[in-house]
């Protein structure tokens, strides 16, 4: 028994070392592309052109960031995105809460519950596709309006189901006590159900926030002019052709040409991409915490 134990522990040690090395390699594979991008954004254009920049900046400067922040297009798009995300999350949350509460009732308490549940679930099962949605947005007069980015997805059904399942799991005595005290459904929802549902609400709020921040396609097809694009749609026009963007920006603005000695299309592109990530990175600790619980909650309930 004893020699065997020692033998396994040597094998075990080897495994632990290899495992550690492999996981570190995997983590670097995820991290290094971003480090490279960041290094390029802070480098002088000469070493970038000479392909000398790898994982740390050479000729450190912030000219690429100044260039981007002074070109009005980026800021304009940032404002559209902020507005869209704020309105979008507010609308999503209001509709999620108001829809989830009635559907969380028992069949006996809300007799039509079953039919309404199916009404919403069907929209997950069958989606008509890009073009019909485009036509409906057009016919409802939302083209070129910020509401075209918010109203078509006003109720995220999957998030609603997550909240509904949570509300359903709340102890019923809690709600009954509130009804006995004479509160109606609205009061019960606001004063009893919502306060105890905050973790779930936070989860779906983050879902919705990330979704709104990251959406680019709707902005691109529903907005007629680039100055109404949210940031991700705007970034798409840049990343598809950084050279054209760069030429264009320097042609339009005299002020920007003073950076030309320091920056080129690649450094400014890297800076924009990184700036576009900042909001997500800023809320990243929350994302990690709540998305994980939300994912597990939504997927492996019995």
């Amino acid at each position: 028994m004893r020699p065997r134990k020692i033998q396994t522990s040597v094998g075990r040690k080897l495994f632990i070392a290899l495992n550690f090395a492999f996981l570190t390699f995997t983590a670097l594979l995820c991290l290094l592309p971003f480090v490279n991008l960041l290094a390029i954004s802070f480098s002088n254009k000469m070493p970038v052109v000479a392909r000398e920049v790898t994982f740390y900046p050479i000729g450190f400067n912030v000219a690429a960031y100044q260039f981007i922040l002074e070109s009005n297009a980026f800021i304009t798009a940032l404002i559209v995105s902020a507005k869209r995300t704020f309105l979008g999350v507010a609308v999503n949350l209001a509709l999620i809460i108001f829809t989830a509460y009635p559907l969380s009732k028992a069949d006996g308490e809300f007799r039509a519950r079953k039919y309404f549940s199916w009404f919403f679930v069907v929209t997950i099962l069958f989606q008509a596709g890009m073009i019909p949605m485009y036509l409906i947005v057009m016919y409802t007069g939302l083209m070129n309006s910020i509401w075209s980015l918010i109203l078509p997805g006003a109720l995220p059904v999957f998030s609603m189901l997550v909240v509904m399942n949570y509300m359903r799991s709340l102890p019923q005595e809690l709600l009954e006590a509130s009804f006995i005290d004479g509160a109606g459904h609205f009061k019960t929802l606001f004063y009893i159900v919502l306060p105890v549902s905050t973790p779930t609400i936070a989860t779906v709020a983050l879902f919705s926030l990330v979704n709104h921040w990251n959406s680019w396609f709707d902005g691109m097809i529903y907005m007629n002019t680039v100055d109404k694009y949210p940031l991700q749609s705007y970034l798409r026009t840049v990343v598809i052709n950084p050279e054209a963007f760069f030429r264009n920006a320097t042609n339009v603005s005299e002020a920007l040409s003073r950076y030309l000695g320091m920056v080129n299309a690649r450094t400014t592109n890297a800076a924009q991409l990184f700036l576009g990530m900042i909001p997500i990175l800023a809320i990243y600790p929350f994302l990690q915490k709540y998305f994980t619980t939300g994912l597990v909650m939504g997927s492996v309930k019995g």
Partner: protein, 309 residues
Amino acid sequence: MGVSKFMSREAKRNKTLREIPLYIMLIPGIIFVLIYSYGSMVGAVVAFQKFVPTKGLFGSEWIGFDNFKNLFSMPNMGEVIRNTIVISLGKMFGGIIVPVVFALLLNEIKNIGVKRAYQTIVYIPNFLSWVILAGLFVDILSPSTGMVNQFLELFGVGPVFFLGDKTAYPITMIVTEIWKGFGFGSVIYLAALTGIDPALYESAEIDGAGRWKQTVHITLPGIMTTVVLMTVLSMANVLNGGFDQIYNTYSPAVYTTGDILDTFVYRLGIQNAQFALSTAAGLFKSVVSFVFIVVSYYLADKIAGYRIY
């Protein structure tokens, strides 16, 4: 249910009155879902018309299945369907295997701090949009200036045109999609792993089972349900090649291997304003996907007791 038969008229009316606020709460959700989700389902009727946008959804001439006939007689339709399935199957299998392996290996790390550090890093790409990541990959995969080809050069390989070569393109799509999602995808398996009863390992140890045997006989069966569940659920995506990713990285040079249904529908419909034809293509995708989604949810319920509501 049976009780309501014996309720007095008074009690019944009270019950209905108490339900009124619930109906009121549902109104906004119903309105928007009705207009946009159901409205676009109705809008799919243009697939059966010689559609003229100014005449509204029902004003154009009805032509039966002509759009579908035209669509399937298009020379590249077969290619587009094949690309879609090849790319999505590659993503499906990689998207199951890599996270499972990663979760198993991560689970062997006992130091909580180290484990969390790995998780923190590998989850990041999952939260970034494909616009940002496309920008990143276009830069680092560039044949002339990219970091990856610079690295390959050290070994005398390349340059590889990851995004411009017909053979390399679909592989690049599968690999980068897995890169983006494997970390966060492992969360669900890590949760399943923590759910395994530690007593099982203890008794296996007493019986003299080594680490490998424990993994094969306890760990793998312990997460099997979750693996099967995720496989079944991912079936629903068989016609989703990944529009966001491909649209932001492809070019005419790789259409023959990289053009998928969604990018095809987009170019046909929105860029060329062939609304009816592209709606037909989209509807084809929706109907097939509907079947897959229903079957996958049915199986998920049968196998793992998973229900979305």
